[in-house]
């Protein structure tokens, strides 16, 4: 028998994961599959079970039922091998506040059993990659939220993990720091790292993930590429805005399936951005000599998907 040195094609596989604390069922049998080198976003509101899933996959807790493997190793039976292959960044920045940024990274390098020279090299490399060179000699307690999160992610990368778990990496960050973190994640993925991301932001999942799994009350309610998920919502709509009520009334008479809003003077007509449907709409307006002030095309976004599948909006839109 020959040992294959190839990376397993699937970085994370979970089948039927269940976890309950007393009567409270947190995970109710979830299945997940993350091909190596891709990004999966586990998307869901607070309390959906995202962090519990990460804790099981990173060997912090054991599932009550189901099996899971990470980087080809069973999380229950072969925890050490899993731990050697992963990096984790928690929802709450887990950095040592009394140590400086450089000391935090050097400590991680020592715990990864790197040689002295390699420790220093890796620390310097990550400090510059994460734009922390200027703050390297300051205690992490003095860092801003964005800097601390960058240090946190850098600490998870010291051992060059094959699978990186990012548990809500941008929660609580300002928009600019959030974009910084997104850029860093994209760079990592370009370098071949598999990323398992949890988030409650649809925009984040949409921008970063190859595939998205929607988690709600401990169940995966939908899974697919962002485009596939958007397709689950039938069509978008076109919105016409008018300058006076008589025009709106005239238009509403032509488009009987439209929804009128008398306060906003708008009419929502089901349809999409396809040219034929647009042309049809404009032709009908012309025939009736109705003058619309504005036309807006609304394509469904993940918010619509989430709302349609779970019956509740996400945190970001609430």
């Amino acid at each position: 028998m020959t040992l294959s040195l190839q990376e397993p094609a699937t970085a994370v596989v979970a089948t039927g994961l269940r976890k309950a604390y007393g009567d409270h069922v947190v995970l109710d049998g979830i299945d997940l599959r993350v091909p190596a080198g891709t990004v999966l976003a586990l998307l869901g509101p607070n309390g959906a079970g995202k962090t519990t899933t990460v804790r099981i996959l990173t060997t912090l807790i054991t599932a009550d039922g189901g099996v899971a493997s990470v980087a080809g190793h069973d999380v229950r039976r072969d925890g050490d091998a899993v731990r050697a292959a992963i990096g984790l960044t928690g929802q709450f920045a887990a950095v040592d506040e009394l140590l400086t940024g450089a000391e935090n990274l050097a400590m991680m390098a020592a715990l990864h059993h790197l040689g002295r020279a390699e420790r220093q090299r890796r620390t310097d490399e990550l400090l510059s990659q994460f734009d922390l060179v200027g703050a390297a000699r300051r205690p992490a307690a003095t860092y801003s939220g964005g800097m601390r999160r960058r240090l946190d992610i850098a600490m998870g990368l010291v051992g060059r993990p094959r699978v990186l778990f990012l548990d809500e990496p941008t929660t609580g960050l300002d928009p600019r720091s959030r974009r910084d973190v997104w850029r860093l994640i994209r760079e990592l993925v370009a370098g071949g790292t598999t990323v398992f991301l949890t988030t409650q932001y649809l925009e984040e999942a949409d921008r970063l993930a190859d595939r998205i799994a929607l988690l709600d009350h401990g169940r995966i309610v939908a899974e697919g590429t962002p485009a596939e998920l958007k397709r689950l919502i039938p069509g978008g709509h076109l919105r016409l805005r008018f300058t006076d009520p008589s025009q709106l009334t005239a238009a509403a008479r032509i488009f009987e399936n439209g929804t009128r809003d008398d306060e906003e003077l708008t009419l929502r007509v089901p349809g999409d951005s396809a040219l034929t449907s647009l042309r049809g709409l404009l032709d009908k307006l012309d025939e009736a000599s109705i003058d619309a002030a504005e036309l807006a095309i609304h394509t469904p976004d993940l918010d619509d998907v989430f709302l349609a599948l779970t019956g509740q909006p996400t945190e970001a839109t609430r």
Binding site: K19, Y21, V26, T51, T52, R55, T58, T59, L60, I61, T62, D80, A81, R83, A84, I86, L88, G90, Q91, F92, A93, A94, V95, D96, E97, L98, L99, E103, M107, A110, L111, H112, H113, P139, M155, G156, G159
Partner: protein, 264 residues
């Protein structure tokens, strides 16, 4: 590398971290020295005249004699007080995400605690030496016998290790840093309900019996006998036994607590 090398190297990394914390956060260490010194001065200069007279020693007792009597009790108070720092640093680690981070790494697990324990033992020793120095300055005069000093130091070290492990358990069971800083107060009361400040024979019978048999008493009695040149007897073995028992039970408790699953 073998597991053994990992064990040493990971423990050394964690110890380095602990020592850095102690250095960076002196406001945690300073009270550990100041509080027992204040108690020492209070008991020697304010209460010492009367309490010393009550001892009824060969020289008739007095402040001079009370310094010798109370110093072992103050040393135990120092050790008990240092438990606060240990419990707080453990609880801080547990309540922030840093322990979760360490636990998702392929490291020697016990290093998480051994780093803290060794660091705390060194921190406590520092406190004990400082307090002892003040005691000598104000008149504490142990017998000149390096063998007895060494034996006393040995017993004190065993006690420090035992109390540090108790503090680790206190830190692990605390769900907040505040709780962790309060729990060790229980330990600080023990030298008082023992032979630390007055002989147990001077207490009401029921209390005297309890005070004479609680673990701190044989430790203080042994230290006193060793340092004052009186007969030590079986007390030293009792002290060693108590320290070993407390260390063993706390160690097993800490191990169990460390491996439990936190809530989601």
């Amino acid at each position: 590398m073998t597991t053994m090398t990992y064990a040493l190297s990971d423990s050394a990394t964690m110890l380095r971290r602990s020592l850095r914390h102690i250095r960076r956060y002196p406001s945690m260490t300073v009270p550990l020295i100041v509080a027992p010194v204040v108690f020492l001065l209070l008991f020697v200069y304010v209460f010492g005249g009367t309490l010393g007279a009550g001892l009824g020693g060969p020289a008739g007792g007095g402040r001079r004699e009370y310094v010798d009597y109370v110093t072992p009790g103050i040393l135990l108070l120092t050790v008990a007080g240092a438990a606060t720092a240990t419990a707080v640093s453990i609880a801080t680690d547990m309540t922030t995400g840093i322990v979760a981070r360490f636990r998702t790494m392929a490291i020697f697990r016990p290093a998480l605690l051994t780093g803290h324990v060794i660091g705390s033992v060194l921190q406590t020793l520092l406190g004990v030496v400082a307090v002892l120095a003040v005691a000598v300055v104000i008149g504490f005069r142990p017998v000149e016998s390096p063998v007895r000093w060494l034996a006393a130091a040995g017993i004190l070290l065993l006690l420090i290790v035992a109390i540090t492990w108790v503090a680790v358990v206190m830190g692990l069971v605390s769900d907040s840093v505040e709780t962790a800083s309060n729990l060790p107060m229980l330990l600080m009361i023990l030298p008082f309900f023992g032979s630390g400040f007055v002989p147990t024979s001077s207490m009401p019978a029921w209390l005297g019996w309890t005070a004479a048999h609680q673990p701190f008493t044989p430790v203080m009695e042994s230290l006193r006998a060793l340092l004052m040149g009186t007969a030590v007897g079986d007390r030293a073995w009792l002290a060693v036994g108590w320290c070993a028992l407390i260390t063993g039970v706390s160690f097993l408790g800490a191990k169990k607590l460390m491996n439990r699953e936190g809530p989601a």
